[in-house]
């Protein structure tokens, strides 16, 4: 499913965080850095606080925080954790960006 590198498609990401928990904050920072470096101008990030929107967490089946979901392109990919290992995150996002 990895799109051809020549024509980059838009990537829609949603990250679920638990309020101001440390690992959630770290995940937001790490995700920002990864996207800036590897997905410039072709990504959108939505941040969902599960404590404020538990219904979203339930409907999306998010029980661990932080959780990153690649909403588009389909199929969905899920990564949990602080996303500190960039290489691993890129592999898991499966966008043909991993070296």
């Amino acid at each position: 499913m990895s799109g051809p590198a020549a024509k980059p498609e838009a990537v829609k990401l949603t990250i679920y965080v638990a309020g101001d928990a440390v690992n959630s904050a770290q995940a937001i920072v790490n995700l920002g850095a990864i996207c800036r470096e590897h997905l410039p101008d072709r990504h959108t990030i939505e941040i969902v606080d599960v404590f404020r929107h538990p219904d979203r967490a339930l409907s999306d089946g998010v029980f661990l925080t932080p959780t990153l979901i690649r909403v588009a392109p389909l199929p969905q990919r899920r990564i949990v954790g602080t996303l500190r290992d960039t290489e691993r995150v890129l592999r898991a996002l499966d966008l043909g960006l991993a070296s």
């Binding site: 679920y16 965080v17 638990a18 309020g19 928990a21 690992n23 959630s24 770290q26 995940a27 790490n30 599960v50 404590f51 538990p54 219904d55 967490a57 339930l58 089946g61 998010v62 029980f63 661990l64 925080t65 932080p66 959780t67 990919r77 899920r78 990564i79 949990v80 954790g81 602080t82 996303l83 500190r84 290992d85 691993r88 995150v89 592999r91 898991a92």
Partner: protein, 577 residues
């Protein structure tokens, strides 16, 4: 549901689970507002226990419940529990909320994470539905995702703190390593065990090829509980725990009423029959008419129109009926009328414990007054010694509390000696009446004998009787002792006949003697008569002789006088010549 209400005096509120046996073990159920850990191996019944806890709360206790499924999907859990008659479909999404929380298999981890999402979801659902009870099923699945011990502990602590804050009564189930039932291999579990207020261990073992399930309460803060393992069964209505109910006074009202054994002479030997509600045990080697005695008892009960349950562990029901017909016991009509119910346990596999539960269920359904179990030994053999003991105890306690007359037979094998009677069947010494049937090998014959080993509270005969089976049923005959030997069978018959002949002979001899005496008497009488006649004749002769003598005397006197007169020289009245 004979569960005692929660005692406020203890300070600890309890939450009934609806699992009767468990509520009895813990004197009221799980700690309310606290967390309980349920540990067990695969297939040990954790999910069913947890689900029953929620169903009970929702249906009876008016406490909505939340079921978080970490391993199996909620739909499958609901489908699997369909057979228990809990009507989950009606409760679902109203009083019973299911949440699917299985981690997706292709989940990628990178760095630290926590259960914040779960707590957020649970919190929202709990307040939305007013949830009071919560089950976290297979929490170990989620814990396994966490990277290290520290993280696991941290998350458990977070979870526990949250549960306490929400004042939810929680059941956490977790798998234990292997079949050992010991969760200690996983350090986080041991932490969990220290953390929770109540811990229950479920075990599913196979002992000599027979499955055996046990439940044990490991800890219960602030409450007393039964510390022993209690066998349980996953049966028709879900989770069934057999608890040995202590015999509280008043629970069993000792009846003075007697019930017939179906053998008239045996009733006499027992001073009127068995006590109603008693436990009767018949022991004996194979073929000593144990089943026949069971049959006479069952028939007698049916003739009194008492509902009877006949459980056979050896033979098929039809075979039992046919075989008993040959000795004049007709169970067929009672079977048709529904008074008698037969259950062949041989055709049903399962642990000894499951048989007990099945027998109880059958008996309750049938409204049974008398239960026959033939033979109980096959059954207890299926269990190991400890559980066999507990099981027999529970069987007897149950029958006593229900006022059911329990009739058990127990087979001894060839190796069993008199000692075996005391040891392997030690449990059965709980029986009120114990009758032993035996063979006596003598003079090329095997003959059956019956003796009463004990019979509580009844005067009973100390005599061994010969047990005779015939077309017309069971009879007990006196046995003879001759020269220190006990005579039975043909020898007894011979002895009986010899006795009869001897009596006849004596009678004839007596008659003969009388005849002879009569003859002698008659003869003597005749002789007396003839002698009397002779006597009379003699007397006559004698008097005749006297007269003649006198006459002669006189004549000669006269002659003398004449001579003197003629001579004139002597006085005329001279004395001699």
């Amino acid at each position: 549901m004979n569960v005692k209400p929660t005692k406020p005096a203890t300070g600890l509120q309890k939450c009934t689970t609806g699992i009767e046996g468990f509520d009895a073990i813990t004197a009221g159920g799980l700690p309310s507002g606290r967390t309980t850990l349920l540990v067990g191996g695969p297939g040990s019944g954790k999910t069913i226990f947890a689900l029953k806890f929620l169903v009970h709360g929702a249906a009876i206790g008016d406490e909505p419940g939340l079921f978080v499924a970490f391993e199996e999907s909620a739909d499958r859990i609901v489908a699997n529990a369909e057979g228990f008659g809990w009507n989950l479909a009606a409760l679902r999404d109203k009083e019973l909320i299911f949440i699917d929380a299985q981690p997706s298999p292709d989940l990628v981890q990178s760095g630290d994470f926590d259960l914040g999402g779960m707590l957020a979801v649970l919190g929202a659902q709990a307040s939305k539905f007013g949830v009071r009870r919560i089950v976290l099923d297979a929490l170990d699945v989620v814990l396994a995702l966490l990277p290290d011990e520290a993280a696991k502990r941290r998350e458990l602590y977070r979870l526990h703190a949250w549960l306490l804050e929400q004042e939810l009564t929680c059941v956490i189930t977790a798998k234990s390593g292997g079949d050992t039932g010991s969760p200690n291999r996983e350090p986080s579990f041991s932490y969990l065990q220290f953390m929770v207020d109540c811990a229950v261990v479920l075990k599913h073992q196979v002992i000599t090829g027979i499955s055996q399930r046990n439940l044990r309460v490991q800890k219960y803060r602030g409450s007393s509980f039964d510390e022993n393992e209690s066998p349980f069964l996953i049966g028709k209505s879900g989770f069934e725990i057999s608890v040995s109910q202590p015999l509280v006074s008043g629970m069993s009202n000792a009846s003075k009423e007697r019930v017939s054994s179906g053998v008239e002479r045996l009733d006499t030997m027992l001073g009127g029959g068995y006590y109603r509600g008693a436990c009767i045990l018949i022991t004996g080697f194979p073929g000593t008419a144990k089943t026949t005695l069971s049959g006479t008892f069952a028939e007698a009960a049916c003739l009194r129109e008492e509902r009877t349950l006949f459980v056979s562990f050896d033979a098929d029901s039809n075979e039992v009926v046919r075989d008993l017909t040959s000795v004049g016991i007709h169970l067929g009509p009672h079977l048709e009328s529904g008074c008698l119910r037969m259950f062949s346990a041989r055709t049903v596999t399962g642990s000894a414990e499951s048989h007990l539960v099945r027998i109880k269920t059958l008996a309750m359904e049938h409204g049974t007054k008398c239960v026959v179990i033939d033979p109980v030994s096959t059954w207890t053999m299926a269990a190991d010694r400890v559980s066999a003991h507990g099981m027999s105890e529970r069987l007897i306690d149950w029958s006593k509390s229900e006022g059911i007359t329990l009739f058990c037979t127990s087979q001894l094998d060839d190796q069993s000696s008199a000692q075996m009677l005391g040891t392997s069947l030690q449990v059965l010494t709980l029986a009120d009446t114990w009758i032993h049937v035996d063979y006596l090998m003598q003079a090329g014959e095997r003959n059956r004998s019956l003796s009463i080993i004990k019979s509580r509270g009844t005067a009973h005969s100390n005599q061994v009787r010969e047990l005779i089976l015939s077309d017309s049923g069971v009879t007990l005959a006196d046995i003879y002792t001759a020269g220190g030997d006990v005579l039975m069978g043909t020898q007894r018959w011979e002895k009986e006949r010899a006795d009869l002949v001897a009596v006849e002979e004596a009678e004839i001899e007596g008659r003969l003697k009388r005849v002879r005496l009569d003859a002698e008497e008659a003869e003597l009488e005749v002789r007396v008569k003839s002698l009397q006649t002779e006597l009379v004749a003699k007397q006559v002769e004698k008097s005749l002789l006297a007269r003649t003598t006198e006459k002669q005397q006189r004549r000669s006197d006269r002659g003398d006088n004449k001579m003197r007169e003629l001579r004139g020289a002597d006085p005329t009245d001279g004395e001699d010549k």
